[in-house]
């Protein structure tokens, strides 16, 4: 019976257009239709004025969730914020973990290192030859400077001396402090000898001719500015980069310390390197 009626109506259109209003409305869900006044009177009188329509109750009004904002229900909003916060913390943790891993890799000896260092041929302040082969089998701290330096070289060399003293006490004479001059014109062996005597007793002063000095500075990526034609009597300063280089018993570069590194930093770094080397090779040289 139901389907027949539906079919009939589908074919003929809504009945209210043709005859007296039906009892049921055709909107879903089926609710009894509100009685509507007919509009088929022949004469209109004030009594027959259709009363104002009651406000229609729409589907949305009946079933709308009033606590919804835009597309967010309270539950979905909470889920959204929760997942967002969880993702943020996860990414933060992951980033920190990766940073730590990278730091460890950088310090680890198996990772790539800058190509600082290389072959050189110089002479010590005692007049003995000294080449890069003499670095093998010992740890070295190499500082580039000149004896006529106003205050920075003495400061850095004092720092190096103090660090080597501390390491000597702890590990024995494993680290050799080396001073390479970037001013060979004025820094004769005698001058060098006098200069390094003021610092650590094991400190070695190295010099070479202008070409050899330039070569060793290039190998160690040291910048210096002595013009080639200077005479020993001239009074000038040599501008140069201020680092001392930490080399391992293989003659390979480990780390560079600048003005910003204090003695404890240097000692700590050397200790760490000693520990890593010992783990790898069994001994300390």
């Amino acid at each position: 019976m139901q389907t027949v009626t539906t079919l009939r109506l589908a074919l003929r259109g809504p009945p209210s257009a043709r005859c007296a209003p039906r009892r049921f409305s055709w909107r879903w869900p089926r609710t009894p239709a509100t009685p509507r006044p007919t509009r088929r009177g022949y004469a209109t009188s004030s009594a027959d004025e259709p009363p104002p329509e009651k406000p229609r109750v729409t589907f949305e009004d009946k079933y709308k969730n009033k606590s919804v904002v835009g597309v967010f229900t309270p539950v979905s909003a909470l889920l959204f914020v929760g997942v967002g916060a969880a993702l943020y913390f996860y990414f933060d943790w992951e980033k920190q973990r990766l940073q730590k891993q990278r730091e460890e890799e950088r310090l680890s000896r198996s990772y790539g290192r800058p190509t600082v260092g290389g072959p050189f041929e110089l002479t010590t302040h005692d007049g003995r030859p000294f080449s890069d082969k003499d670095l093998l089998g010992k740890w070295s701290l190499i500082y580039f400077g000149f004896t006529n330096c106003p205050d920075i070289c003495p400061e850095e060399l004092d720092k190096m001396t103090e660090a080597v003293d501390i390491l000597d006490k702890e590990f024995g004479p494993l680290v050799q402090p080396i001073f390479i001059t970037v001013d060979p014109a004025r820094d004769t062996p005698a001058q060098l000898a006098r200069y390094v005597a003021d610092f650590h007793p094991r400190m070695v002063g190295l010099r070479g001719d202008y070409a050899a000095s330039k070569a060793v500075c290039r190998a160690y990526r040291v910048y210096f500015s002595t013009p080639p034609g200077t005479q020993p009597g001239d009074d000038y300063l040599v501008d140069h980069s201020i680092y001392f280089y930490f080399m391992d018993p293989d003659g390979k570069f480990v780390d560079a310390f600048g003005k910003a590194s204090a003695v404890p930093d240097v000692v700590e770094r050397v200790r760490k390197e000693f520990a890593a080397w010992k783990e790898e090779r069994g001994g300390l040289t």
Binding site: T147, N148, P150, D151, P154, D198, D235, L237
Partner: protein, 83 residues
């Protein structure tokens, strides 16, 4: 016979001479600070004895270097204070 010269060229390789130079520099600069003068040489006659000691105990290149550094430090002070 020859007069021994009282002034001797400071030996930059000796720790003692370096220390002496630094001390005389510090004295001279302290005097300049008291006179509120940044550029050494602009104070006129005020710190002349300190200045003489400074220029005698330090090599000329060192004197120039320290003077330049003092001016630079003064110029950088407002920047450092900002940081």
């Amino acid at each position: 016979w020859p007069f021994t010269s009282t002034s001797k060229v400071p030996d930059n390789a000796s720790r003692q001479d370096r220390a002496k130079c630094w001390e005389s520099r510090d004295l001279y600069f302290a005097c300049l600070d008291a006179e509120n003068v940044t550029v050494p040489g602009k104070e006129g006659d005020k710190c002349s004895s300190a200045k003489k000691g400074y220029e005698q105990n330090c090599a000329k290149s060192w004197v120039d270097y320290f003077n330049k550094r003092r001016i630079l430090a003064e110029q950088q002070k407002p920047l450092l204070e900002q940081a």
